[in-house]
């Protein structure tokens, strides 16, 4: 439903130039008339008011002057006479005389003659406010109220203050004293004035309306005269627009509008002429085009590189193009009436004409790919030829696709080769989209490396990540994220196969870009490097061991030299200290006697009585420290010498432990009252050196004892046999302070000790560890700070 157009009656008026001009001129007259009337009324009303004010001022001044004497004398009779004289005046409604304090002396009213004091209520307050002004200006002032005008004039009398001589003549040089004695008040009624103003306003409005009406009529006539030529012109233009090129407009004058009319007529004439010429030319053009089209079609038909033939209903050739004629090597004319298959299809039997006809009748196109005997491939299409009368035949087009066919075959072969490579090699070749939401290709090696099926990966492309070791997933995620930026990457990660075994993978990804440089997908190779990795680790361990051995060898050489160099002077110190101790014992009685006889004396800066106490202690210190040096040297020698030890003896662990405990029985008693031995009876013999193993057990027990805080804590030594592993176990448990984790790591390093201040050499556990390693066993420590430590020695059993 189309909306009805809303007809706006003012729209046509607004669009009319004539109406606009008329409205504008009328508006101008209206504005002018209103302005003049307003000005006239305002001027006249202000003039009338001014006249009234002048009159009031005059009357008030006169009354003030005339009443001077009466006020001076305060003579009521005179006051009344003077005041009543004023009331004769037309506009005066009230006249009065007041003292300077505002007290009425007399007040006369036109309506209320008899001196009613009606209008002067509150006058004294008003007067009070204007007295300064009256005194200063010496002339009447007036107030305008709603219905009246009030005039107040000062009454001033002069006073003589001079000498009596001045009474004889007018003394203009002397200042006369003046006294303000009261005011004269005149009230003028504004009723008359208002009526006059109303009359004036009414007259002015009537006059204004008349001027407006006459002016509007005149303006209408003027507008009509001005716009008639324009209307004519408009009518002419409309006629032209509707196609009436013969339209002309009358030329009424010689002015600008007349010239425009004339120009329009000339233009219309020219247009009419040109239109006739155009029609003639168009007719000629149509005829020429028909001939040209035929030629053009034939040219196009022969230019087409495909082999084209127009067939009739019976699939006989009606016409062939140049390409077909050339290819078949026959003249165009000779082909007419023959069938295409005879030349092109290389088949004996004709194609299924009935089937093709049925297809074409339905408006469809027939496609067929054929292989010609001359080693050429053609793509044949037969399309129905439709005219207005219906299908009149078909168009046969054969396109040579031999080159494309050959390229396809080459590509297929290349793909086959690639597949062979990809599926044969052990590395996993993969190809995914950039976001890894789809697997484009994965080589079968994936199944071997990951231990998962290819199908599972195609179904869930990110399932290969699930197999990645949790510690390495972050690394892989970062690499996959870098795919989005189109970067190349390579990384190493571990995967866990379904059977739980861990494989190391070296994965490399490369972006594949299209012609515009846009990354379309990612391809890469994931290689299983587990064997290589393990071999590398083993190599690293061997290298570390070599370093350690080398270090120990150097240490051994240094220690043997050091032991020799230190041992000799130390022996000398030890002997000297011994001699010194014995000498002191001999000297002491002599010195004591001397002291008793001759009094105390000084030795080495100290008194003898003090020195006889201190010196034996110092000598004992020398001996103790010398023994300690001797012990360290012995330990060092043992450590260096152990390489040459023979471990091919049968060693009974229980015996070794018992001997060790008995050797250090004295120390055990010194450190604890709760020492326990738990020796398992069924412990088999092990291969080893009993002396060395004894040393290990002693070391371990001594360490346990030294860890105890007091004698009330326990040290337990137990032996057992782990049949499953074929290992004999010696366990030394203490209730000491435990070992901090950082210390635990370094506990077996040579020269590492927490007891260096208490005589430790840092070699005990290093030697023990070395001995156990020589016995192909292991030394382990389990400890929690504050909970004590357990040392475990595991040795393989004697095995022939």
């Amino acid at each position: 439903m189309t909306p009805m157009p809303i007809i706006n009656p003012f729209r046509s008026v607004r669009q009319s130039f004539r109406t606009r001009v008329f409205a504008l001129l009328t508006l101008l007259i209206l504005v002018t008339t209103i302005a003049f009337t307003t000005f006239y009324v305002l001027h006249e009303s202000s003039a009338a008011t001014e006249r009234l004010v002048t009159e009031g001022n005059f009357l008030a001044g006169l009354l003030a002057y005339n009443s001077r004497l009466a006020v001076f004398a305060e003579n009521q009779e005179m006051l009344r006479e003077t005041t009543d004289g004023t009331l004769f005046h037309q506009h005066v409604s009230s006249a009065g005389i007041f003292t300077s304090e505002g007290k009425p002396l007399i007040e006369r009213n036109r309506q209320l003659k008899g001196g009613a004091v009606r209008e002067s209520e509150g006058f004294s307050e008003t007067l009070h406010t204007i007295i300064p002004r009256l005194k200063a200006e010496r002339k009447p002032v007036y107030y305008e109220k709603a219905d009246r005008l009030e005039f107040i004039a000062p009454i001033i009398i002069s006073q003589h203050s001079g000498s009596p001589e001045s009474l004889y003549f007018d003394d203009s040089t002397r200042e006369k004293g003046e006294q303000f004695v009261g005011v004269a008040r005149i009230v003028l009624d504004k009723t008359g004035l208002t009526a006059t103003l109303h009359r004036l306003l009414l007259t002015s409005i009537i006059m204004g309306a008349m001027v407006l009406m006459i002016g509007a009529y005149l303006m209408y006539l003027v507008t009509l005269g001005l716009t008639r030529p324009l209307s004519n012109l408009m009518a002419g233009v409309k006629a032209l627009d509707e196609g009436k090129l013969s339209a002309r407009i009358p030329v009424e004058s010689d002015d600008e509008l007349g010239e425009v009319s004339h120009a329009f007529n000339t233009m219309a004439q020219s247009l009419e002429k040109r239109e006739a010429e155009n029609r003639c030319l168009e007719e000629l053009l149509r005829r020429a085009e028909k001939l040209e089209a035929k030629e053009e079609w034939e040219c196009t038909f022969d230019t087409v590189p495909d082999l084209v033939a127009v067939l009739d209903h019976d699939h006989r050739i009606v016409r062939i193009n140049k390409a077909m004629a050339d290819r078949l090597g026959i003249a165009k004319e000779d082909a007419v009436g023959t069938r295409v298959y005879e030349y092109l299809h290389g088949t004996e039997a004709p194609p299924d004409h009935a089937g093709i006809s049925a297809l074409l009748a339905g408006g469809a196109t027939y496609f067929e790919e054929i292989y010609q005997q001359q080693q050429s491939y053609f793509m044949v299409t037969i399309s129905p030829l439709v005219r207005t009368a219906g299908i009149i035949g078909s168009v046969y087009v054969a396109r040579d696709i031999t080159k494309r066919k050959q390229a396809e075959e080459l590509l297929q072969k290349a793909e086959e080769r690639f597949r062979l490579i990809a599926e044969t090699i052990v590395e996993v070749i993969w190809m995914t989209d950039v976001e890894v939401t789809k697997i484009l290709y994965i080589s079968p090696a994936y199944e071997q490396v990951w231990g998962r099926s290819l199908e599972s990966l195609y179904e869930d492309p990110r399932s290969f990540i699930d197999a990645v070791h949790p510690d390495d997933r972050e690394l892989l995620s970062a690499a996959l994220a870098s795919q989005a930026t189109g970067e190349q990457y390579e990384l190493e990660y571990r995967i866990i196969r379904p059977n739980g075994s861990i494989r190391y993978i070296w994965d490399r990804g490369y972006p594949v870009r299209d012609k515009t440089g846009q990354v379309t997908c990612y391809t890469g190779v994931a290689e299983d490097i587990t064997e290589h990795k393990l071999a590398e680790e083993e190599k690293r361990a061997i290298q570390a061991k070599l370093v350690q051995t080398n270090k120990m060898t150097s240490l051994g050489l240094m220690v043997s030299g050091l032991a020799h160099e230190v041992n000799n002077p130390n022996n000398s110190i030890k002997l000297t200290a011994h001699l010194l101790a014995r000498s002191w014992q001999d000297i002491l009685p002599v010195l004591e006697q001397h002291c008793r006889e001759d009094g105390d004396f000084s030795i080495g800066g100290q008194s003898f009585s003090q020195m006889k106490e201190i010196l034996p202690q110092h000598i004992a210190g020398i001996r103790a420290n010398s023994r300690r040096i001797e012990g360290i040297i012995k330990n060092l020698r043992d450590f260096v010498r152990k390489g040459a030890s023979n471990v091919n003896f049968k060693a009974e662990i229980n015996t070794i432990v018992s001997i060790a405990a008995s050797i250090i029985n004295a120390q055990i008693k010194q450190y604890t009252r709760h020492f326990q031995l738990k020796l398992d009876e069924g412990v088999p013999v092990v291969r080893g050196n009993p002396q060395q193993l004894e040393q290990v057990v002693i070391n371990l027990i001594m360490n346990a004892l030294q860890a105890l805080p007091d004698r009330e804590h326990t040290v337990l030594v137990a032996t057992s046999f782990d049949a499953a592993e074929g290992l004999v176990v010696i366990k030394v448990v203490d209730e000491g302070g435990g070992i901090p984790p950082d210390v635990k790591e370094r506990i077996c390093e040579p020269f590492f000790s927490t007891k260096l201040d208490h005589g430790g050499t840092g070699l005990g556990l290093a030697i023990s560890n070395f001995i156990i390693k020589e016995h192909k066993g292991s030394l382990e420590f389990e400890s929690k700070p504050g909970k004590g430590t357990t040392a475990l020695v595991k040795l393989p059993v004697w095995n022939q």
């Binding site: 001076f72 002069s158 003589h160 203050s161």
Partner: protein, 296 residues
């Protein structure tokens, strides 16, 4: 102070050259009004002596006595009561006054002072009254005893001898005048105005004249201007003649007469002024007056 310095410089410049020779007479004039100027002109007319005139209005703030002493005059002429008051302290130079109504009130007992008083003797007015026809028997007088009492007293004495009675009403302020006038209505045949600043004010003058008009009795004024305003008659003083009169006295003093020998005089000549229009309206005959002086 600056003004004084300028004045002294001005005076030295103006009078410096003349200061060498002393003037015979220094004239001190109170006001610059026509009657005073006339009087000084009359004085110079009858006295040839060298004069030098000062106007009081030009010498405001000056030490008049010192000024006079510097001029070293042989005589001082004081024109108007203001001038007389200023030169009053000078006791060793003869002073002649002019245009002063009651000089005794200013210089009573001063032996070096004499002059012509502006007073017209009350007797002269009484003479005038007697010449009015019909002759008034009771004449109303309103006075402030403090100002014109001495004149009224003298008039009262003189009136009795001429068969005229004065009804004297004393007032203290001009506001009392209307009531006084009202009370005189129907009692008096004429009103006699005296130069009294309490009684005579612009308003009261009007009232005097209105009362005269309403009650049809004449008013006798004391100066010509009241005649013009509506009084019947007045004895107008002749300033020029008074000046001449004083000039003659001065000449005598300069010629060696002692001041004490020349007592203060009153105006010797007066002019009768009448308002004929008023006379006609009041039905008064001026025949006797006209005979006294030729009509002007």
């Amino acid at each position: 102070m600056l003004r004084k310095i300028f004045l002294v410089i001005f005076l030295i410049l103006c009078f410096g050259p003349a200061a060498a020779r002393a003037h015979d007479i220094v004239v001190i004039q109170g006001l610059h009004v026509k009657p005073y100027d006339e009087a000084v002109r009359g004085f110079r007319n009858s006295c040839d002596a060298e004069t030098k005139k000062f106007l009081l209005t030009d010498l405001v703030g000056t030490d008049y006595v010192r000024l006079i002493r510097e001029e070293r005059p042989r005589l001082i002429l004081a024109v108007g009561p203001e001038a007389l008051k200023k030169v009053r302290p000078v006791r060793d130079i003869p002073i002649v006054y002019l245009m002063v109504i009651n000089p005794q009130s200013i210089v009573k007992g001063h032996r070096n002072v004499t002059g012509v008083a502006m007073n017209v003797a009350p007797e002269k007015y009484l003479d005038l009254l007697t010449r009015i026809s019909p002759k008034p028997r009771m004449v109303g007088v309103i006075c402030d005893p403090a100002k014109s009492g001495y004149l009224v007293k003298r008039a009262q004495q003189a009136a009795r001898t001429r068969g005229i009675e004065l009804a004297v009403l004393e007032v203290q302020t001009p506001r009392d005048v209307p009531d006084a006038l009202t009370s005189l209505k129907g009692i008096v045949d004429a009103l006699w105005m005296f130069p009294d600043t309490t009684v005579v004010t612009p308003e009261t003058v009007e009232l005097f004249l209105l009362t005269s008009q309403e009650n049809r009795f004449p008013v006798i004024g004391f100066a010509g201007k009241y005649v013009e305003m509506g009084a019947l008659a007045a004895l107008d003083i002749d300033s020029f003649d008074q000046g001449r009169q004083a000039g003659e006295m001065a000449a005598q003093i300069l010629n060696g007469s002692a001041v004490a020998d020349l007592p203060g005089a009153e105006a010797r000549s007066t002019t009768v002024k009448v308002n004929r229009s008023v006379a006609r309206k009041l039905g008064i005959s001026l025949e006797n007056i006209d005979r006294l002086t030729p009509a002007k």
